[in-house]
Structures are given as C-alpha cells and as structure tokens.
Symmetry: C2
Subunit: 196 residues, 2 copies
DNA sequence: TGAAAAAACGAACGGTCGTGCTATATTCGA
DNA sequence: TCGAATATAGCACGACCGTTCGTTTTTTCA
C-alpha cells in the first residue's frame, strides 16, 4: 500500500469515528486534519470534495458493519442459531466499540432522511441492503422448518431493526441499564411469534 | 401579548420546523433571521444565547407533542381504546405535519446522545417522560382487565416507541409505502401478546 | 401626545468553514 | 541514485458562524 493510500485510510478511519459523534455534516476538515497532525489542505488533497470524503466514510462504515455483524453470523448454521447470532452482533454493534461509540447509521438516517443527494442515496441503499440481509437470514429459519412458512419476512426485518433502534435510544440517551434486557425480551417475543 | 413576545413566538415556531430538518446544532441564526425577515442581531436580542434558543425550541416541541399526541388520547376511555388512540396519534406525529416534516425528537436523540449539556439533559427528560406516559396508559389497560396483570409496562413502552422509530426509518429514509402497515402489524402483535 | 421603554437594525469582531493555488518535501521506480 | 511522480504544507479566498455594541425605529402607556 502506497504512502498516499495509507494516510487516506487513516483519514477515513478517524473520520468514521468522528462522524459517529457529530454526523457527516458536522464533520470538519480542519478538526480532522489537526487530530491527524496534517495540514487542512494536505488532507483535502486526498479527496475531490467534502462530499467525496463523506461517501468514503459511509462506505467504510458499511464494510465494517458487514465484517463485524453480517459475516460472523453466516458462520453459524442456518436457522435460529444464525438468526440469534445476527441479533447478538447487531446489538453489540449498536452498543458500540472504541472506534464507533454509537451506531453511525442511525445518526446518519436522521441527518439525511430529508437531505437529498448522493450521501442520502448511498445511505438508503445500505439500509435497504441491511433489511434484505435480515430477511434472508430469517428465511433460512423458514427453510429449516423452525419458523412457520407464512412468516412475513419483511415484517420480521422491520421489527428486528426496530428493536435495535430503540435499544440505542434507551442505552445511549436514557442510559437505561435495562436496555439490553428489554431488547432481548422483545427479540424473544418476536422469535416466539414466528416459530411454528 | 406584547410585540416582543409575539415575534419571539414566531422565531421559536420557525426554528422548530427548521430544526426538525437540520437539528438544533445545524440551526443558524442568520438563516433563521432572513427567513423571518429580521436582522440577525434583532433576532438574537430575544435570546441570551443560541443555547437558550435551542432550549426554548425543545420546550415548544414538547408542548406540541403533549397537545397533539398525549392529550387527545386521554379523551378516550381508559384501556385498549386509549392505548390505540395513543398509538394512532404517535404514528401521525412521526409521519409529520406541515410544521414538522419529521419527528424532531428522533433527530435530536441522535444529535445529543453523546453531546453532554443542558439540551441533552432536557431532551433525555422529555423522552423519559414520554416512556412514562406510554406506560401509564398501558397501565389503564391492565386496570380495566384487558391486559394481563403481569404485563411488563416498561417493556411495553420500550417496544411501543421502538415501532415508532423504525416506522420513521422506513417511511422517511427508505420511503417504504408499507411502513404504516408494518407499524400497525407490529403494534397489534404487541397488543395481542399483552392481552389476557 | 410626548416621553420612557422596548424592539429592531447595521456594522463589526474573531473564528471556522470548504476549497483553490503554488511551492516544497517526500516517496518510489528506473 | 537521480528524476519523475506523488504527497504534504502554506497561504489566501469568500462565505458564514455566534456574539457584541451603539444607533435608530417602533411600541407602550401615563
């Protein structure tokens, strides 16, 4: 990896964790540059515009999400096991790591849901794909016979993600210690409802 | 109402609808002033600081929410009827009106969940109160005997609000025509689960 | 109606924003 | 190792930010 690509990755990585705090709009090139001990113009030279950086950051977030949430669960056997694993990793993602202290997608969804443009489009696509992933894993539970045949997979994905969103609200904003217990109780209810 | 108080209310009202688009941080005094055909300094004179304006806007949002969502449902008879009415009004609120095209609280939750300060505190309190309101209405369904006695009211409020959040995600960001159908299906499942 | 009070204005301040440009420093292949 | 390619720095730009201050206009009430 060339020197340029190397610092480029460092920029995106730092920008990712920064924007999970202040959003992609709130991201500032000057701030970002000084944190990385770069000149503002030196940093800027890696991107054609701020929007290009935002798109790169979003893509990086998607790759991280695929690596840390979706892929690990695919290692589990099809059906309930895989579905539970997906939820576990999803909750862990929302809970946040050192790199992203909060789920960046929920913040960005609020930031861009009425702000048309390429970033919004990319974000919407990523969330659409996420819903499809959840539905696909749920479908394996239908195929194994663990779920009823008439389970509405779109509906399942809808509620699945909803639990993640309200979990973030309770654990982050409200600092509710019971957030995780509530999340799992809701998830188990959803699972029970779908079983045959 | 004096002239000063009158324009002050106009400022807050316009600021409210603006910040449901760009957040309270993204709110700009210059922008706000020009929209209201006021000078920036003339507008500023009504508030000691931008933060004071933000707090006023948040309070206005709370009052609007109480008036349009909580209060109307209290006119319904205790129990299931009131609970359904609360959900109806909640969904209508999230769907948005002309004044607030999107639920301002969800945006602000993402904006402030890791930004300490008076605004965050006020916001957290408002959301805590909202959870309590949902639980209180659900309690009336227990009292009428329509809900089981062992229904976990906190859990109920958790899931109730979660449906609203994911509904916003689907209807606003993903522009999913089925969002409302999904929301009501989830709500009915939650109701069924709680009934005796 | 006139004087005191309140409200709105205009200009300016120090900052920061994203974005160009040119020049220097560093990396890298021949 | 040298020359070309690449990466970074420095500086400046116009625009906008929240905020302050002194002046002017408008409202209010005796």
């Amino acid at each position: 990896m060339s020197k340029g690509e190397q610092t480029r990755q460092q920029i995106i990585s730092r920008a990712l964790s920064l924007s999970s705090e202040v959003g992609l709009e709130g991201l500032s090139l000057g701030n970002l540059a000084s944190e990385l001990k770069l000149s503002k113009s030196g940093l800027f030279a890696h991107f054609k515009s701020k929007e290009a950086l935002q798109l790169d950051v979003l893509q990086a977030a998607c790759e991280l999400f695929a690596r840390d949430v979706v892929k690990p669960s695919l290692a589990q056997p099809r059906g309930l096991r895989r579905l539970r694993s997906l939820f576990d990793h999803y909750i862990a993602w929302v809970r946040g790591s050192s790199k992203t202290r909060t789920c960046i997608f929920m913040g960005l969804s609020q930031e861009y849901d009425d702000r048309p443009g390429p970033v919004r489009d990319a974000l919407a696509k990523s969330q659409f794909d996420w819903q499809a992933s959840v539905a696909r894993v749920a479908a394996t539970a239908v195929e194994t016979g663990e779920f009823r045949k008439d389970v509405d997979l779109q509906q399942f994905a809808f509620e699945f993600t909803g639990i993640g969103m309200i979990f973030q609200q309770f654990s982050k904003l409200l600092q509710d210690k019971q957030a995780e217990r509530h999340a799992y109780a809701a998830f188990e209810a959803l699972m029970t409802r779908s079983r045959r």
